[in-house]
């Protein structure tokens, strides 16, 4: 990436790239951990390291990246036990004396090495009604939504999610309760609950309720702690808890106090 590296033998997975300052990298493959060594370089990112290993040492290593500048969210994986974007994580910030340990994201099925299947993540996005519902007769003209209205501010606080899966991997409740929709899907649902144009609120509140829904969040706040976009799904989920509680109480009240026609 930064400096030319003498081409090592592809057959030997632990070859030292440059004598002197070396970085030990343990990578989880399908059949256990494999150890590589790369040279430490200034401003080196985890993505630099993985790419160097795959191109110069072992082309069979599978991993994902796309934009490499922190915009797409494709490069997320578990780095020294915590889910991060590899392109925006400096080796110097996270490597301890033991070097680096790289594993695929938690809570998702592994396709190969460091690449996981994001399908369950997106299936839950859909299950949480994470899509805008215009209704049967959407108005012809634009809706006027004041940017500083409380509802719009609530939407803006969560709208920048790029579905990287870091929060989902960080969430212990997803690990304990595989049906749990997870922070990203619920955060998106909350942005739509606050969208004044949306006509699917009743169904959405139902979709985010129950044992797989927002009530299962135990405010560990791992999602908020790890989100690379500095979003706070914990508080979006809290909003859903309030909204579903009010809705349920209203329905209960309506049932009990409904006067016969």
């Amino acid at each position: 990436m930064n400096a030319p590296v003498p081409t090592p033998s592809r057959a030997d997975p632990t070859v030292e790239a440059v004598p002197g300052e070396a970085l030990t990298v343990r990578i989880r493959r399908d059949d256990g951990f494999q150890t590589f060594t790369v040279a430490r370089r200034p401003a080196q990112t985890i993505l630099d390291v993985v790419t160097e290993i795959q191109r110069a040492q072992d082309p069979t290593l599978a991993y994902r990246f796309a934009c490499r500048v922190g915009m797409c969210g494709s490069c997320a994986m578990t780095v020294n036990g915590r889910p991060r974007w590899t392109c925006r994580t400096r080796v110097a910030a996270v490597a301890d004396d033991d070097g680096l340990t790289l594993e695929p994201l938690r809570n998702l099925p592994v396709i190969k090495d460091l690449a996981v299947d994001m399908e369950p993540f997106f299936a839950k996005w859909t299950a949480a009604h994470g899509a805008f519902e215009p209704g049967d007769a959407p108005p012809a003209d634009f809706a006027r939504v004041a940017p500083d209205s409380p509802a719009r501010r609530a939407v803006d606080a969560g709208i920048e999610c790029i579905n990287c899966g870091v929060c989902y991997a960080a969430c212990d409740v997803v690990t304990w309760n595989p049906d749990y929709l997870g922070p990203a899907a619920l955060n998106r649902a909350w942005t739509l609950v606050n969208d004044v144009r949306d006509r699917g609120q009743e169904a959405r509140l139902e979709a985010v309720s129950g044992d797989a829904g927002c009530q299962s969040c135990h405010t560990h706040m791992s999602c908020t702690e790890h989100c690379p976009k500095a979003l706070a799904p914990t508080f979006a989920i809290a909003g859903l808890k309030r909204a579903t509680a009010r809705s349920a109480l209203k329905r209960l009240g309506a049932r009990h106090f409904r006067r016969s026609a």
Partner: protein, 109 residues
């Protein structure tokens, strides 16, 4: 947990916050220098206020605890479904019966 179970748990939590604060205060006050049955019962015998307080306390706890236990069992064991719900109802009933009995015991004794 459903939205209504959530409301029940958070609602009883608020009631319990008050009850526990009173209870802890009573404990810290009462336990000074030792605690005898006579001292406990001297406070609670024939005392309508304490009976009402403990009665409400018991009902709230009997609702709050099983809902919490349900989440724990669902997440940390493989128990789920109707049988778990039934078991939690049984726990609620047990706590209610034992608790109201205890509240009456110290009122009547």
């Amino acid at each position: 947990m459903s939205p209504l179970l959530y409301v029940a748990q958070r609602g009883t939590a608020v009631i319990l916050a008050v009850a526990v604060a009173v209870h802890l205060g009573t404990i810290l006050y009462a336990v000074r220098g030792g605690l005898t049955a006579g001292e406990i019962l001297g406070r609670t015998q024939g005392n309508h206020a304490f009976l009402l307080f403990y009665g409400l306390f018991v009902v709230a706890a009997a609702i709050h605890a099983p809902i919490g236990l349900r989440s724990i069992l669902r997440e940390w064991t493989s128990w789920r479904g109707r049988s778990l719900d039934g078991a939690m109802l049984a726990v609620a009933a047990l706590l209610l019966v034992l608790g109201l009995r205890a509240a009456l015991a110290v009122y009547v004794a």
